[in-house]
């Protein structure tokens, strides 16, 4: 009886010891520590909700908010990008005249994996999983190119050549970077994610069905 109790106790201890050493659990914790140690929060807001209320508030920000990063990005993209950051925006954040200096701090691969794991825990309840399946579709393409000319501000790659405007984040490679469910949520509930932004609010101009087609199209861009 006593022996069986000891064995049970040992088994329980072994279980908790092994659980605490699972790398998946260590990743977000270490990533958060690195986020704080490197003072990433000086440029990136990591806790919601959105705070900006005026244009001045937005212009005071040094980098994009990350409080919904886990809903916006794909984990593999974050892991890769954090260890090899390449400009997504052609221009410096909040600037219309300066080229992106491409000077985002670079992390070691292991650190980037931990940081990505942490960022993926920053989810928004307003992004519904599985709402949009990324795919090239004629309706979404028509909205992107003809009806609303999204390429006017977002650079894309057409037949190997870059085309479009420079003020917004480029959408080349969006399929590897963005969660299409987030694109849909961002388009349909802009005030939740970014109440003040230089991209217009398209609700009412694009129907809900069109928003889904557009999000699927953008989410499938190479």
């Amino acid at each position: 009886m006593r022996v069986s109790k000891v064995i049970a106790s040992l088994a329980l201890s072994a279980f908790f010891l092994s659980a605490s050493s699972i790398p998946v659990l260590a990743g977000p914790g270490d990533g958060r520590k690195a986020f704080e140690a490197k003072k990433c929060g000086q440029c990136h807001q990591s806790e919601g909700p959105a705070r900006e209320k005026t244009i001045k508030d937005q212009l005071a920000k040094k980098g994009p908010e990350l409080w919904y990063a886990g809903s916006k990005f794909k984990k593999e993209f974050l892991e890769r990008w954090l260890s090899d950051p390449r400009p997504i925006r052609p221009l410096e954040y909040n600037s219309l005249t300066k080229k992106n200096p491409a000077n985002h701090p670079k992390l070691a691969v292991a650190e980037a994996v931990d940081m990505a794991a942490y960022l993926m825990t920053l989810k928004s309840v307003d992004v519904l999983d599985g709402a949009v399946v990324p795919r090239d579709n004629p309706k979404g393409r028509a909205i992107f190119i003809k009806k609303q000319s999204c390429y006017g501000c977002h650079e894309v790659t057409v037949r190997g050549n870059k085309a479009g405007g420079l003020s917004g984040p480029a959408l080349t490679g969006a399929s590897k970077r963005l969660n299409p469910d987030w694109i849909y949520a961002y388009m349909t509930k802009p005030k939740i994610f970014k109440p003040v932004k230089d991209m217009p609010d398209y609700t009412g101009y694009i129907s809900d069905a069109e928003m889904k087609d557009l999000s699927a199209y953008v989410g499938g861009l190479d």
């Binding site: 209320k53 005026t54 244009i55 001045k56 937005q58 212009l59 052609p90 221009l91 219309l96 005249t97 003809k146 009806k147 609303q148 000319s149 006017g152 501000c153 085309a163 479009g164 405007g165 420079l166 003020s167 230089d198 217009p200 609010d201 398209y202 609700t203 009412g204 101009y205």
Partner: protein, 152 residues
């Protein structure tokens, strides 16, 4: 007499309340100045000085953003055209969809103030308005100028 005074007081009170609500509807605490809005939204395409040379005016775009400092170009538009274009985008005035709609982003008064700023940039007024088949232009004194003279 007393009734007259009471009536005037009541009228004043109604006017005060209406003025308050009218003001609240047009100038929210978060509203930006026309200059702020222009530099934040419009300058992406039209440039910080309004010359149509913002960062989105790249060589591969099918049309160039309008030069807001060009009186020759801006005179072609009525004030209504400008307001409609800002509100519902270029397609509202049969122009390019590259001009996006800002009707859900900016308030009516902000759009109206932006129109005023554009008129300052071009130092021009809009083309003549067509009303009931007669070409008219509103003057600063509120009277309408007909092609053939004054029509009050």
């Amino acid at each position: 007499m007393t009734r007259d005074i009471m009536g005037k007081k009541a009228l004043l009170a109604v006017v005060a309340v209406l003025t308050f609500f009218a003001g609240a509807g047009t100038t929210s605490a978060l509203a930006a100045t026309a200059e702020e809005n222009y530099r934040f939204y419009c300058a992406q395409c039209h440039g910080l000085e309004g010359r149509g040379d913002g960062p989105n005016a790249t060589e591969n775009q099918p049309v160039s953003p309008r030069d807001h400092t060009s009186a020759k170009e801006m005179e072609k538009l009525t004030d209504e055209d400008i307001i409609n274009s800002i509100t519902d985008g270029g397609t509202a005035t049969s122009k390019s969809s590259l001009m996006p709609p800002f009707g859900k982003t900016l308030s009516r008064s902000e759009i109206s103030e932006l129109k005023g700023l554009l008129r300052k940039l071009c130092k021009c007024k809009g083309k003549w308005l067509g009303r009931q088949g007669v070409l008219l232009k509103k003057r600063s004194d509120g009277k309408y100028l007909r092609q053939s003279g004054l029509d009050t």
